[in-house]
């Protein structure tokens, strides 16, 4: 009988001893953490892309729970995530507008003249540092830094030498916006159709000389839509796309260089 009794007693004693120890320690040493953080963190997509401005999904979760970040702060997760987080925290999600990244340049290999023979590190940033490989000092350099940083496979370089956004895949994380040394990307509501496809601040003659698709500051568009489009530094700027009168779009599209106009949605669907 002792053969059975001793092990049973030993095990029971061990179990008792350690559970008591654990309980004591648990009560003495436990660190309070809001369980909501864990829950919110589980909802997040775990891409850890940093689009929210925090170092990772968990950090964002902490910020949201503490009220430092808005529930809509995660652009990657989309509306579903926002709804779930809002539900978890019991707050109102508000409306989330689908944003996409868009390129403000149409300086294809053909349109924009190249500058000398670039021989260096094949990235946009590196090229930009020594003046760039295009004569235009504002346009897309075509080495695809933006494509490299895109985590969602939403960008690709097409044959014309410009990056193309697959709007269905774009999560508006803003990586490409940061990556472009010439700040040619910007996040826009997907609903915005009219865009200025140029960032050149050169005066008309010079801009025209270096790129066929440059804004030459002729201000045709600004005259067509004075409420929404103004000229700043030799460049047309859309101040508020909502004020663009849909009827005036044909007038805007009279732009001699096609530097402003509608995004050609149909083409993109074909290619994507």
């Amino acid at each position: 009988m002792t053969e059975l009794l001793v092990p049973i007693l030993t095990m029971t004693a061990l179990g008792f001893l350690f559970s008591t120890g654990l309980v004591l320690a648990y009560n003495k040493l436990k660190v309070e953490e809001d369980p909501k953080i864990e829950r919110v963190s589980e909802i997040l997509p775990q891409a850890n892309c940093g689009a929210c401005g925090y170092s990772g999904c968990r950090a964002f979760a902490e910020a949201v729970v503490k009220g430092k970040a808005p529930v809509t702060g995660c652009p990657v997760g989309g509306e579903e995530t926002v709804a779930l987080i809002a539900e978890t925290l019991g707050v109102d999600a508000g409306e989330m507008i689908k944003m996409v990244a868009r390129l403000h340049c149409r300086g294809t290999i053909e349109a924009a003249k190249s500058r000398g023979c670039y021989s260096g590190i094949p990235t946009c940033y590196a090229s930009h540092l020594i003046g760039g490989n295009k004569q235009c000092s504002y346009g897309c350099l075509g080495y695809g830094d933006c494509v490299k940083v895109c985590q969602f496979d939403a960008l690709y370089m097409d044959e014309s030498g410009l990056p193309v956004v697959r709007e269905d895949k774009c999560m508006a994380c803003g990586k490409c916006v940061d990556a472009c040394p010439r700040n040619l990307f910007e996040l826009h509501p997907q609903a915005q159709e009219v865009l200025v496809f140029c960032r050149s601040e050169d005066r008309g003659p010079m801009a025209r000389k270096v790129c066929k698709a440059a804004c030459i500051a002729c201000s045709i568009c600004a005259r067509a839509c004075p409420d929404a489009i103004v000229m700043e530094n030799n460049l047309a700027v859309i101040t508020d796309f909502k004020k663009i009168d849909p009827d005036k779009i044909p007038d805007i599209e009279k732009c001699p260089t096609d530097a402003i106009g509608r995004i050609h949605k149909d083409e993109e669907i074909d290619e994507g």
Binding site: R115, C117, Y118, S119, G120
Partner: protein, 325 residues
């Protein structure tokens, strides 16, 4: 405008003439004296081994370049050839060819290409290949034949270090004479026997500044001090430091393997630690370890530490205050 396309690039616009292939071929040339000596001592066997290793290494390299879609030009940069030569030089002359080929394939594949190819490997590729076959086929890798010049008719033959370790050569008085060690008239791996030939090669590398002088100096210094201490205490039991330096693979290791740029530290202080560490470990293994020779293990072991050394011994930047650490 005579030329419409000027080159746009970052400064500087001047470039020294030295290049990676040049460095590699300098090393190969420096290896040649020892290669020729080994061919003299071991005749056809040596030629065949060198050839097998060269072909296997280059073929493996070529396959990897092809699979990884890398420029084929780098096959001829000389690095694979060095690996092949060094590997062959550290093989027993009588080794069967299939083992040499396995070693070559491992050296290039596991030792170099899995890390990304030239410049990225952590360990000396030739030594990885050698360590692999040494561990896989220990008997074949420790069976030696005498050089043809010795005119002895035995199937197997012990190396000077093997004699020292397993036959108590100092006590017995059968230690190989230094003259034979210098000339290479003794048993051992193909390329390691002749100290003179290796010295000639080392001289080439040192005068051309292809290798970092600190490494051979550090290794030899550490080994001499270590073995010298024991020798001074008991010269009847321990061999002299000179014997330890000349015997076995120490010289080829110190001049040609430990100095491999890719796998040695990049800062002077790190280099000293690396070199002294190798020398010390060779001494430890030879005197107290389970093996007669320890150069291969010592270099491989110190190779694992190199990344840490590189990280810990960043040079003091001009104007940087010395921080109390």
């Amino acid at each position: 405008m005579p030329n419409s396309e000027y080159m746009i690039r970052s400064s500087p616009h001047f470039k020294d003439k030295d290049s990676v292939p040049k460095i590699m071929y300098t090393v190969i040339i420096a290896l040649l004296p020892a290669v020729f000596t080994s061919v003299y001592y071991f005749r056809l066997k040596a030629v065949v081994l060198y050839f097998a290793c060269l072909v296997a290494c280059l073929a493996t390299e070529a396959i990897f370049l092809w699979v990884r879609k890398k420029p084929f030009q780098s096959l001829w940069d000389g690095s694979a050839a060095i690996t092949a030569l060094l590997l062959a030089m550290t093989l027993p002359p009588d080794l069967s060819l299939d083992l040499a080929v396995i070693g070559s394939v491992v050296a290039i594949a596991i030792g170099k290409q899995v890390f990304g190819g030239l410049g990225y490997n952590i360990f000396n590729p030739a030594l990885v290949g050698r360590a692999f076959i040494q561990t896989a086929f220990p008997v074949a890798m420790t069976t030696w034949i005498p050089p043809v010049t010795l005119h002895v008719d035995t199937a197997t033959f012990a190396t000077p270090l093997g004699n020292l370790k397993f036959q108590d050569a100092v006590v017995q008085g059968t230690l190989a004479p230094l003259k034979d060690l210098l000339l290479g008239n003794t048993g051992g791996c193909l390329g390691e026997t002749s100290a003179v030939a290796l010295f000639i090669g080392a001289l080439i590398l040192l005068t051309k500044k292809t290798i970092n002088w600190r490494i051979p100096v550090g290794i030899i210094l550490a080994l001499s001090v270590f073995t010298g201490l024991f020798w001074l205490v008991n010269p009847n039991k321990f061999a002299t430091p000179v014997f330890h330096i000349l015997a076995g693979g120490l010289l080829i290791g110190a001049f040609f393997m430990a100095t491999d740029m890719v796998t040695s530290p990049i800062t002077p202080r790190g280099t000293w630690i690396y070199a002294l560490g190798i020398g010390l470990m060779v001494g430890l293994i030879r005197l107290f370890g389970g093996f007669a020779e320890g150069v291969m293990y010592s270099i491989l072991f110190m190779n694992t530490i190199v990344p840490l050394l590189n990280r810990s011994f960043r040079p003091r930047i001009l104007g940087e205050r010395r921080k109390p650490q």
